[in-house]
């Protein structure tokens, strides 16, 4: 391989960068540091499968023009899952209450549109700021303790927020929710239509931009320090990592992402109800990440696609009992299905390198 030539014929792997096989060049000369530099550069480079993934997402509305509402839901769930991946997959912080940030973002965006300004982007920003404020405050609660205390504290915070929204009727409309949210056109140009085309493209654009930002941040020295904390907290602090500070930052950041997902939900469905704060949102989200795998950013996105498709297929038949299937999936995945699926997925990925869709469908086989 010639040094300096960027696009070597690598096996395109959607795996996290660190699993990409390292420096292939033979005979490392003394003081030859090029392999290290190449390895770092290669890890951050875009893989063909990534281009494919986003291309598919962009052209999907042309192929399936009637499924744009579903696609919009997928994009929003994907953003929400991306948010949880930042804290769970990268920093190793477990949470059973992530719906709190989704819900606060949704209410903030809804209230802002109803009372202040109906511009979507302004509402998005307000929602992200509000959610990140709550994230910042509650981040101090997850710094200490074990996974079990964290699970319960996050669950408790989410319940508190739910109770608050439920009791503060004058603001949130209580059980009736916020109705009649009418949004201005995106960028003053694109009106929200009934078929959901604008909605989907708007959500996809927000998802894509925030994904780019997340990809950059998780590949930064900061992102590396998060993985250090997840892998070994003791060693992280013995390596000079200020653990608490990093966790506060990433928790706040993840809250902002979840808040953005909430804003998209409020703006594109033009409705906010207590449902956005329900416990099942947090639990479903866990399932999404389990399906897609944590710690490589695409897990949440792929998980969201599969989860929504599955829900669409099953819930169409028996919408009432959808939760049963979520429960069954959780039980099956935790009781050993996860390893099987990820092994099958990895094998498929190796076989049909570059074709992410193949890996996708491999992920579904139990």
């Amino acid at each position: 391989m010639t040094a300096g030539t960027p696009s070597a014929p690598l096996p395109a792997s959607p795996l996290p960068p660190e699993i990409v096989p390292a420096a292939p060049p033979p005979a490392p000369l003394a003081r030859d540091v090029a392999p290290a530099e190449q390895a770092v550069r290669r890890a951050r480079r875009w893989k063909p499968a990534e281009f494919l993934f986003w291309t598919v997402a962009l052209v999907a509305p042309l192929v399936l023009p009637r499924s744009m509402l579903l696609m919009n839901e997928i994009a929003i769930l994907a953003l929400f899952a991306l948010s949880l991946d930042l804290i769970l997959g990268y920093a190793g912080i477990v949470s059973l209450g992530h719906a709190a940030f989704l819900g606060v973002g949704a209410y903030a965006a809804g209230l802002f549109a109803l009372n202040v300004n109906a511009d979507p982007l302004a509402g998005l920003l307000v929602a992200m700021l509000t959610a990140s404020a709550l994230g910042f405050l509650s981040s101090f609660l997850v710094l200490r303790g074990t996974d079990l205390t964290r699970l319960m504290v996050t669950l408790g915070v989410a319940l508190l927020v739910f109770e608050a929204a439920n009791s503060w009727r004058s603001l949130t409309g209580g059980a009736d929710g916020l109705q009649g949210i009418a949004m201005d056109p995106v960028l003053g140009l694109f009106d929200f239509d009934l078929k959901g085309r604008t909605a989907y493209l708007y959500s996809l654009a927000v998802l894509f931009l925030l994904f780019l930002a997340a990809r950059r941040m998780m590949g930064s020295p900061f992102g590396l320090s998060l993985r250090a904390i997840r892998d070994n907290r003791l060693r992280a602090s013995a390596s000079g990592v200020g653990v608490n500070g990093r966790l506060v930052v990433v928790y706040t950041l993840a809250a902002a992402y979840a808040g953005a997902a909430g804003a998209l939900l409020a703006q594109t469905t033009q409705f906010v109800s207590l449902d956005v704060l329900e416990f099942h949102r947090s639990a479903d989200l866990m399932l999404v990440l389990i399906i897609g795998g944590t710690g490589w950013l695409y897990g949440g996105l792929i998980g969201a696609v599969l989860f929504e498709l599955f829900q669409d297929a099953v819930a169409a038949a028996t919408p009432q009992y959808w939760q049963f299937w979520v429960g069954l999936l959780l039980v099956v995945f935790v009781s050993g299905g996860r390893e099987a699926v990820h092994k099958a997925g990895a094998a498929l990925r190796r076989k049909i390198a570059g074709l992410k869709i193949a890996g996708l469908f491999g992920g579904r086989r139990p």
Binding site: T146, D147, M152, G156, V157, L159, L160, E163, Y321, L329
Partner: protein, 284 residues
């Protein structure tokens, strides 16, 4: 005022019975079983079905409401729970949430989503007056049953061979096995009894707490609070915690209804942060 106190005590006692199984599985066996409420719900529905479809008396259904969930618990422990003992708490939580969702949907499917009414026998209805305080007959009955169960439990855990074997098995499984203790059987039995007690609590509580398919979700957090606030070292902590929470919750809902369950959740978070081993935990 005294009536509220009394109702709170009854509620707390009930919470203790409902949560005692969780106190043992979480506190002693270190397994996070969020599906504990599903066993309670099972007990409640056993009573409902037996009374409505087979015309059995309320009291007569109670043993069945204990036995059925205990049996289900034993089977599930042997098949699904056991492989997860040494997995992470996150995995245990997700697994048991899965069970909760399944049980909620399944009960909804078979029994419908409406509230179930349990008619307690007429001699347990109404209330009597002691020094101007209204005392519900049924609540007195619940308190009585709960006290008996609590005393029995504490006796079994602290004074019997079973209890000491269990404590040995929890401390160090390998050593316990070496001593000839059948750890697997012990855990199955413990799990079954815990599930049965939840079922009994569910049957007793149907009249006071209400019973519908979302029961496990609604009360999941309460059980967890009892165990975390009470500490995981034994049953006395959870007992006091359950009473405290019962009283605070009833009084809170009476005096400051707009605060909803705020008080309880906030209490849990504060305790978790400052006394992660629980309020009444003894340092081990």
């Amino acid at each position: 005022m005294l009536t509220i106190l009394f109702d709170g005590v009854a509620y707390g006692m009930l919470l203790f019975i409902l949560a005692s199984g969780l106190a043992v599985t979480l506190g002693l066996m270190n397994f996070v079983n969020l599906a504990h409420g599903s066993f309670a719900m099972a007990g409640g529905y056993v009573t409902v079905v037996l009374m409505q479809r087979y015309g059995m008396g309320f009291l007569a259904t109670l043993p069945v409401a204990f036995l059925m969930p205990a049996l289900i618990g034993a089977v599930l422990e042997r098949t699904l729970y056991r492989p997860l003992y040494d997995k992470s708490h996150l995995d245990q939580v997700l697994f048991s949430i899965g069970l909760v969702f399944m049980s909620v949907a399944a009960v909804d499917y078979f029994m419908g989503s409406q509230q179930q009414l349990v008619h307690v026998p007429s001699w347990l209805q109404g209330r009597f007056d002691i020094a101007g305080t209204g005392i519900g007959r049924y609540r007195s009955f619940v308190i009585g049953v709960c006290i008996v169960v609590a005393v029995l439990l504490q006796f079994v855990l602290a004074r019997t061979r079973f209890g000491s074997q269990l404590r040995a098995a929890v401390d160090d499984q390998r050593v316990a096995r070496g001593l000839g203790i059948e750890v697997g059987l012990l855990f199955t039995l413990t799990f079954a009894v815990g599930s049965g007690l939840a079922g009994l609590g569910g049957a007793l509580g149907a009249e006071m707490l209400g019973l519908d398919p979302t029961f496990p979700l609604k009360f999941m957090i309460y059980f967890l609070i009892v165990v975390t606030v009470g500490g995981r070292a034994g049953l006395i902590g959870p007992f006091i915690a359950a009473l405290l929470i019962g009283i605070v919750d009833v009084a809170g809902k009476y005096y400051v209804p707009e605060a909803g369950a705020f008080l309880i959740y906030a209490l849990m978070i504060v305790v978790l942060l400052f006394r992660p081993q629980g309020l009444f935990a003894v340092a081990r």
